[in-house]
């Protein structure tokens, strides 16, 4: 019983063990830098998007820590051009060697991503095409939490069944 209890209780840790899986969406070597752009979630969806930029020296692969980075997304629809831009900073990044920004992408479709980097008097730019998907409906994002309800109901029903079964199986003491 205690082995069972131990393993069951420690299962509560399962939810802790998650990792992050940033995807590389652009990479370019320009001048003395190599610029890589990562998206926290793949595919990128309309709405809030976490993008981060790594700037490295070509010579020794060391990260450039004092750059100014601007992330820009543009989308041309006919003659109209929509642009979303935000400065990327270390403060907004979990990995402090990266520069991160949170951009609100207004619509899905084909966007042009550019990361403008200025460091040590040198300017560089990395660009890429970004296919932005429609925003995920809330139910798609949060369904695991809602699914806890039927799971808990199942566990409760199972618990009741086990208890009834145990009562049925336990021989009653004779008077």
């Amino acid at each position: 019983m205690r082995i069972a209890a131990g393993l069951l209780i420690v299962i509560s840790c399962a939810c802790l063990l998650s990792g992050d899986g940033g995807s590389l969406v652009a990479r370019k070597q320009t001048g003395p830098f190599v610029i890589s752009v990562f998206a926290a979630d793949a595919p990128v969806r309309a709405g809030k998007a976490d993008l981060s930029v790594m700037v490295q020296q070509v010579s020794d692969e060391s990260p450039v820590m004092d750059a100014t980075v601007m992330l820009r997304l543009t989308k041309a629809t006919g003659s109209a051009v929509t642009e979303v831009a935000a400065p990327a900073t270390h403060a907004k990044a979990t990995n402090k060697t990266l520069y991160a920004a949170q951009l609100t992408i207004p619509s899905e479709g084909a966007w042009r991503l550019s990361a403008d980097v200025a460091a040590n008097g040198t300017n560089a730019e990395a660009t890429a095409d970004l296919n932005v998907m429609p925003p995920a409906p809330p139910a798609e994002r949060y369904w695991p939490y809602i699914a806890l309800i039927p799971f808990a109901v199942f566990l409760f029903a199972f618990n009741r069944w086990l208890r009834r079964r145990r009562q049925f199986l336990t021989p009653r003491a004779r008077p």
Partner: protein, 736 residues
């Protein structure tokens, strides 16, 4: 240290929910460890505690430290993380013998009723015994190590949060089952001889060495994702080699140390020492002051502090700038007071009524006011507060009460005046019991609180001749809400004033732990209340409380607000109060009336001989948890988004300085937390409904026929609540 190294070391991936779960786990273990230690004292107690805490700390480092931030960039960091998850955290946790302390740290009734049937279920026990059998555990551990390092699986994990989580979870769990045989944390012994642990460890080490050697000597890039990050192939290979060495050298040491000790034990024939001392149970608890007695001592100082804050809020509301985000009356009552009240109800009990500043002023007023009249018999019910509560639901949105510091100040001042007049003229706590809508909100909410003011021993009460808890004595008066402790059940009508605690000469009243909402499952005679199933006024108040939660939250989400404004534009300038009034009337009166009537009629089909009204009154109280869940989810939203809002207002009110106004921000953990809160409410409601139905119907089949309409109502409310939580909601006390 250069800036890149500093940045790397500060790249902690701190995740609130993960840290909270780890802390909770530690708290449960420490609680259980302390309880166990009161009974049995072992020499290794401190070592066990240290083992568990350090094991959890290693887990924390693995999932929250820079290792986690860099695992997608450097293979070496990822290998170090895997090493901690597989070979360091599991044995440390198992060395703490976590089973008994963790079980003892949980509420006893939950372990017995909730976990007990599972823990004693033979197929599950057999499966877990099979899982921890050395051969199976070894195979699982080795398979997990090899499979996840195959390039396809590894790349899958790097590209997906879900697969990455699965990878880490399987490393940790196979680590637990692998080290189980070596540590033997349970009281039972393995059927395998101890020496079998030596080849067990050494063969696992051989697999680990072979895998590490592939990393170090293969000469080709195994994982293309790392090649995409590094600039040259040589740099990628150098990272890969370092990763292999981390896996190889520390990994080998971790396998060889226990193998060495096992060898020594086998050779010397020594056995584990099990010295322990059985202590006299709970000896150290004697003479300790109870929680209720401590709270009772602090009640007046807390009330005084609340009074000062209230006066500050009133003054700022009357004479401060009428701009909500920088006025204390626009922030503290609507965001913080409500939020903290809900938190206290959730984790302890009705602390707001205990700290009520209105009753503090009332008690001062009674020094000069007579308080000799009896509250009119016709008004000794909950109809007045029910009407006031409905009025609150309507006026809150119709007149933007939350957005007017001036009106807020008037409401608070009016509250002081009403409490003073009512209780200055009438005996007892008539204001709290028959008038105050805030009090009713707290009374109903506290039905799901985990603590109750209750007697400790019925035998002591049976031998009591003086009944000080209700009559009072020279030092203090008895319960002013006429709750006679031996007949009291649940927190309904209890203001947590703790006068009964002070009055009881036997020290037999305390804040007792209870199962939340359990008091709703039965319908005994309750002192000063009667049976819940005979109280129509209380049932109506509960319906207003439950459906009002959804109406109140829905009234501030974008689709509803936009619809109201569209009608406002077409109906004219003065139409808004009428539009909101219609919304509240439909949502909080008509819909609940129709829903519970339909449920009552449907239940009557299978419960013949009972009137619909009786059925409704019996079941409607079961909806309290989901109602409270919605109130909590909604109010916590305002608390989480506006927790830092008072500082600019305080700086302006106290120092006259203009400070930056708090900017609205919705933390990413908030919606999941809101859904979980609502989930807890629904599950408690379903549980209470089931208990009521089985108690009433006797058999399972009949209970299902009786309860399904009520479960349908609950699920309907839950669906409405989830819809509301998914909508953009107005923030309060902030600049938009």
């Amino acid at each position: 240290m250069n800036s890149a190294a500093t940045a790397a070391l500060t790249s902690w991936n701190l995740d609130g929910p993960v840290s909270a779960v780890l802390l909770l786990l530690c708290a449960i273990y420490v609680r259980g460890w302390r309880r166990e230690r009161l009974l049995i004292h072992r020499q290794s107690d401190s070592l066990r505690l240290t083992g568990f805490l350090s094991g959890v700390f290693v887990l924390f480092v693995a999932v929250e430290s820079p290792l986690d931030s860099f695992d997608g960039t450097y293979l070496a960091a990822h290998m170090a993380q895997h090493l901690l998850l597989m070979m360091v955290a599991p044995p440390l946790i198992l060395l703490s013998h976590p089973v008994l302390p963790l079980l003892k740290g949980l509420p006893k009734s939950f372990v017995k009723e909730g976990l007990g049937p599972f823990l004693t279920w033979r197929p599950l026990r057999s499966f877990l015994e099979w899982l921890t059998a050395p051969l199976v555990a070894w195979l699982l551990f080795v398979a997990s190590t090899i499979v996840w390092h195959l390039p396809y699986c590894y790349e899958l994990a790097l590209g997906s949060r879900v697969w990455h989580g699965a990878q880490h979870a399987s490393f940790f769990w196979t680590g637990i089952v692998f080290w189980w045989f070596i540590v033997e944390p349970g009281p039972g012994k393995s059927r395998w001889p101890r020496w079998a642990g030596i080849p067990y460890l050494l063969t696992a080490d051989i697999v680990n060495t072979a895998l590490s050697a592939i990393f170090v000597f293969s000469g080709r890039v195994l994982y293309p994702s790392y090649a995409a990050v590094h600039l040259t192939r040589a740099q990628t290979l150098s990272d890969q080699t370092l990763g292999g060495l981390i896996m190889w050298v520390p990994g080998e040491i971790i396998y060889l140390i226990p193998a060495f000790f096992l060898t020594m034990r086998v050779l010397t024939g020594s056995k584990r020492q099990g010295e322990y001392i059985v202590r006299q149970a709970r000896a150290t608890r004697a003479g300790r002051r109870s929680l209720a007695a401590n709270l009772a001592r602090w009640r007046r100082p807390i009330q005084l502090a609340m009074l000062l804050v209230s006066l500050l809020v009133i003054a700022d509301g009357f004479w401060g700038p009428q701009i909500t985000p920088i006025n204390l009356a626009g922030i503290l009552p609507w965001i913080h007071w409500r939020g903290l009240s809900v938190l206290s109800l959730l984790f302890l009990g009705n602390l707001f009524c205990m700290a009520c500043p209105f009753t503090f002023v009332r008690d001062l007023g009674r020094k000069v006011m007579p308080a000799r009249l009896r509250w009119p018999r016709q008004l000794r019910n909950k109809w007045t507060p029910a009407l006031l509560f409905l009025l609150y639901l309507w006026s809150y949105e119709a007149f933007g009460v939350w957005d007017s510091p001036w009106i807020t100040a008037w409401i608070i001042a009016g509250y002081f005046g009403a409490a003073l007049v009512v209780d200055g003229l009438f005996r007892g706590a008539s204001f709290c019991k028959y008038v105050c809508p805030i009090g009713q909100f707290n009374f109903i909410s506290s039905l799901i609180s985990p603590r109750e003011v209750a007697i400790k021993s019925p035998q002591v009460c049976r031998s009591c001749q003086t009944y000080d808890c209700i009559r009072g004595n020279e030092q203090t008066h008895g319960c002013e809400l006429y709750l006679f402790q031996p007949k009291k059940s649940g927190n309904l009508d209890c203001t947590f004033c703790l006068d009964c605690v002070k009055a009881c000469p036997h020290g037999n009243i305390d804040l007792v732990s209870i199962t939340p909402a359990q008091t709703l499952t039965a319908d005994p005679y309750r002192s000063s209340i009667g049976r819940l199933s005979s109280r129509t006024d209380l049932a109506v108040l509960v319906l207003l409380f439950v459906f009002g939660a959804f109406v109140n939250a829905a009234g501030m989400v974008a689709p509803v607000v936009m619809r109201e404004h569209a009608w406002h534009a077409s109906l004219g300038m003065d139409a808004m109060p009428w539009i909101v009034g219609a919304f509240v009337l439909v949502g909080a009166v008509l819909v609940p009336a129709m829903a519970v009537s339909a449920a009552g009629f449907l239940s009557k089909i299978s419960w013949r001989g009972r009137k619909v009204g009786t059925i409704v009154r019996r079941f409607v109280f079961a909806l309290v948890p989901i109602g409270f869940g919605m109130w909590a989810a909604h109010i916590l939203y305002h608390l989480a988004t506006g927790w830092n809002a008072p500082w600019p207002a305080l700086a302006r009110a106290l120092a006259g300085t203009a400070a930056a106004v708090a900017l609205p921000a919705v933390p990413s953990w908030l919606t999941p937390l809101q859904i979980l809160t609502l989930n807890a409410g629904l599950l408690l409601t379903l549980w209470v409904l089931w208990k009521v139905a089985t108690e009433s119907a006797g058999q399972v089949r009949a209970a299902v026929a009786l309860v399904w309409p009520w479960m349908a109502v609950s699920v309907g409310l839950y669906a409405a609540g989830v819809w509301v939580l998914f909508q953009p909601m107005q923030m309060r006390g902030m600049m938009h």
